[in-house]
Point group: C2
Chain length 246, copies 2
């Protein structure tokens, strides 16, 4: 049995807030050893001040051109996205897919106007979400005495499939990718391609509680047998040299 | 609170087995209205006889060539994969990504040697996994009196990210994609890009219980507020004309 319990009742988060403490106070009950905490990216970005007011942005000539090419986007928003961008992966059909400086490949570099202040301020991904996860784990340990794994999640689109799913953009305190290769299945077959993105599956499960307007920015997952060890969302990023879709 | 309860104790499934009845008998307790059943693809394929013994396969010249290009794969397995293939999307680095006749884009067309009989028999995806889900929902209704949504899940890889996650390849009885566009967030911002692949997130959550060798081929998800309506995994497939990564 696996249980997902919402962490609710966290007040509106603003830059400089001690998010880990706020979460520690809002936990739905005592933590158990083996619990995993998943925190939605938006509150992490707000606490870390990863916000840009669009009226402070002067778009470059290139940003103006990209905005036009994409069918009339706000050039200031494009400027903010380009600031997060290491490389443009695709730019077509009104969609801008980029690789961020952190190595994530996603639409708009993770820059988003929703759930901030009504559309005048953009939120950016944390600069180092693995570090954010570690920081929150430390604050939760201070509040509860237990050091549990923490995942920072965000909703990303995918090629080939419609709709967004939550994935892990920050991981601390557990192995992000579980490697079953070279193990045998019950029929004696040696598994070849079985590396499971367990941190992403935990993020997706948590996403069931992080619905828009739910007021739930975090949850506790209880009963999942995660693999202890050093973890990092960076481990989830495919080496560009082995990626067939760049 | 969301709960994931494993459906365990199902005997080894063989072609012709009434899988829905087997699941109905193995449920971990009485169903509740609002429960969702997720079933792993492998047992569905076995029950439907979607199995091919490799020693019955004669590879074509093309399959032999592809097997060689991919670095010495079994040409008979490639022949089986090509039988599932509408179009080869990528063929490189020892990896074969195809679009199946059902429209899924995935490695090896969903053909898999694991968890069958030790490596001499390949399992194929169900011919119509939406239909499989509907069929199982009917059998579960007969056993319990409740008609609940059913998702068939399989583990797929992704571009850009390492590791497999479970996705929905069959959906019955719920809306697969929840559309939040044109709704407002709590700050009055009108959401633009927010379509959530809820069936995929349910599949990923269930995947936390479907670990290799767990003996858990199905689970009940309780407490998720899914959207009622006609559903189909086909709705999760991006229109190729709008897909930037074909």
């Amino acid at each position: 049995m696996i249980q997902l319990a919402p962490v609710a009742g966290i007040p509106e988060v603003t830059p400089g807030d001690a998010l880990g403490e706020l979460i520690g106070r809002a936990l739905p009950g005592p933590l158990h050893r083996g619990d995993v905490l998943v925190v939605a990216q938006k509150v992490v970005s707000k606490a870390e001040g990863r916000l840009v007011r669009l009226d402070t942005v002067t778009p470059s000539e290139f940003a103006v051109s990209v905005a036009r090419t994409l069918g009339g986007k706000d050039a200031r928003l494009i400027e903010v996205i380009l600031g997060e961008t290491k490389r443009i992966v695709r730019m077509d059909h009104g969609v801008l897919i980029v690789e961020t400086h952190q190595g994530f490949v996603c639409a708009n570099g993770g820059v988003d106007l929703s759930n901030v202040d009504g559309g005048t301020t953009a939120s950016l991904l944390p600069l180092d979400a693995d570090g954010s996860a570690a920081h929150i784990a430390g604050a939760v340990e201070t509040a509860t005495g237990l050091h549990i794994p923490v995942i920072i999640s965000d909703t990303f689109g995918r090629p080939w499939r419609e709709g967004l799913v939550d994935v892990a953009i920050g991981v601390h305190g557990m192995v992000a990718l579980r490697d079953h290769r070279h193990q045998s299945d019950p029929h004696g077959y040696t598994l070849r391609a079985t590396v499971l993105a367990e941190a992403d599956q935990l993020a997706a499960a948590a996403g069931l509680l992080f619905r828009k307007n739910s007021g739930v920015p975090a949850c506790i997952i209880r009963g999942f047998d995660y693999q202890e060890g050093e973890g990092a969302a960076q481990h989830l990023l495919r080496n560009p040299e082995h990626d067939l879709f760049r």
